[in-house]
Symmetry: C2
Subunit: 301 residues, 2 copies
């Protein structure tokens, strides 16, 4: 089995209360696929410039991550600069240089078109997310992440692609923007009923994550008291871990999603304890399993 | 059975993103005792000025809250003004007028000295908390709440009283200040081992609350998606509900504390949906029970 992930590959400049880094490798599909690599193979669909390090390709390939769909184009890699004033707020964006991403038109390599694999549409333009869904061959399930910018600027395209999506992972602010109702409960109704999302996962940072279906809520805590250094990539690592765990589940239902959420909470807690992908690259499987066991107890799963 | 609570009675000026109120009744022991009143009797030890409304005394007494120890003194009631810039941060204090609280020296009325009742030391000067513990006759358990200001300015007194405390309810920032270690895990160790707190409850707002003992962590979510209007009194209502539920438990152990935390999460979620004590006064028992049932499912308790 495998997962195909479409998203950004980037250089990030990051400032947090714990320090700063310039020009480090990031991007949603990099975080996602590294996080997924502890449980399954993944296939990247993305674009980079000629400046993207060969070393990163090697790191990805060494972890059974296919870069057949990670296209190198003339020009510079997408880059983003952001500053976290505190760890309880979203970062302030200092700059966004689309570079090669501006003309990105995703295509799916033949080698990725294994049937019954999972498709994850990371946070990119919903127009591209729609395009990928149409190109892809019968995925087992489709997951999607998005952000306030796309919800506000490309609402129509986003709602179109959401009709095809099984599992949506967003945060509380994005839920409000998507639901466009005053009360969060009404927003949940919009998403699970009107937009037809079967499994909605609301990410709440240190407040854990909540699985919302038409029938019930289920809460999974985040790993308590992790030592946050850089929250960048937390959501993408969470999604990578979640879908890698689902990829190895025989059935995808509320029970297997709850179990995968515990694993995802455990794994993504490591990502944010170092800058960028540093911890994802150096992490040992046994460390993830230890936190997963602890979380199972805390969460009574 | 009953609970004796020592704390502040106040007039509050409150500004939040959802509106503002001036001169409304508040204070830790008012929130605490109203929250506790759905399950048990409580006894207030506090002081007010001649300006404190007779109507509030009546509201309290009608709910089996004894005001024998709520002393009326010449002068004005303690008042506090604060502004919440967002619901994820602590409020900014605009003013604190101690007024009659400046000369407050708590004494315990004879009618409160029933043995085997619970004693709760709400957030006041640790010097006064020590004094009350010494005055009180064999409480069943002692609970305590405090804040950054006292941890920093009266550390010695606070640590002295903590040696007598069974259940401590604080937030994450206060835990850091109390533990004085870089990592939160080390702070937890300081509190549960060096300071000897048997049951530490870390309140995390929308992130729920965590019970920490020497042996394990247990997480209870907050009620998801409540419509926050004014967070004032959330912690005091939580404590009031928690201890009222423990008061009706035959034994006080990890299991009964977890169950009481679910009830406390449910009840305190109502407090913050209106300004001040408005919701606590108008709340129906069946509404609390409904949220408690929902939370039990979400939390797998």
């Amino acid at each position: 089995m495998s997962i195909t992930v479409v998203g950004s590959s980037a250089f990030d400049d990051i400032e947090t209360p714990r320090g700063s880094r310039k020009g480090i490798v990031g991007g949603s599909c990099i975080y996602f696929s590294l996080a997924a690599s502890f449980k399954t193979k993944s296939n990247i669909v993305s674009v980079v410039g000629k400046d993207f390090p060969r070393k990163t390709f090697k790191i990805l390939n060494d972890r059974s991550i296919s870069t057949d769909g990670l296209i190198e184009q003339e020009g510079k890699t997408f880059s983003w600069g952001g500053k976290y004033n505190s760890f309880s707020e979203d970062p302030v964006t200092n700059f966004t240089n689309l570079n090669v991403f501006e003309s990105f038109s995703p295509s799916i390599p033949e080698s990725y078109k294994e049937s019954n694999s999972i498709l994850f549409l990371a946070n990119i333009d919903p127009v591209l997310q729609n395009k990928v869904v149409n190109l892809y061959h019968r995925p087992r399930i489709i997951g999607l992440d998005t952000m306030n910018f796309w919800i506000q600027s490309k609402r129509k395209s986003l709602i179109k692609v959401l009709k095809r999506v099984d599992i949506l992972t967003i945060n509380e602010l994005e839920l409000r923007l998507l639901g466009r109702k005053k009360s969060l409960n009404d927003c949940l109704n919009v998403v699970t009923n009107e937009l037809g999302i079967k499994y909605l996962i609301v990410k709440r940072g240190s407040g854990g994550s909540l699985l919302v279906t038409k029938k019930a809520f289920h809460w999974i805590p985040s790993y308590p008291f992790c030592d946050v250094v850089d929250p960048t990539g937390a959501g993408d690592s969470y999604a990578g871990a979640l879908f890698s765990s689902l990829d190895s589940s025989a059935t995808i239902n509320t029970k297997s999603i709850i179990e995968s959420m515990v694993y995802a909470s455990a794994l993504s807690s490591f990502t944010i304890e170092k800058f960028g992908v540093e911890n994802l690259i150096n992490l040992k499987k046994k460390d993830i399993l230890r936190r997963e066991r602890e979380l199972r107890k805390i969460a009574r799963v």
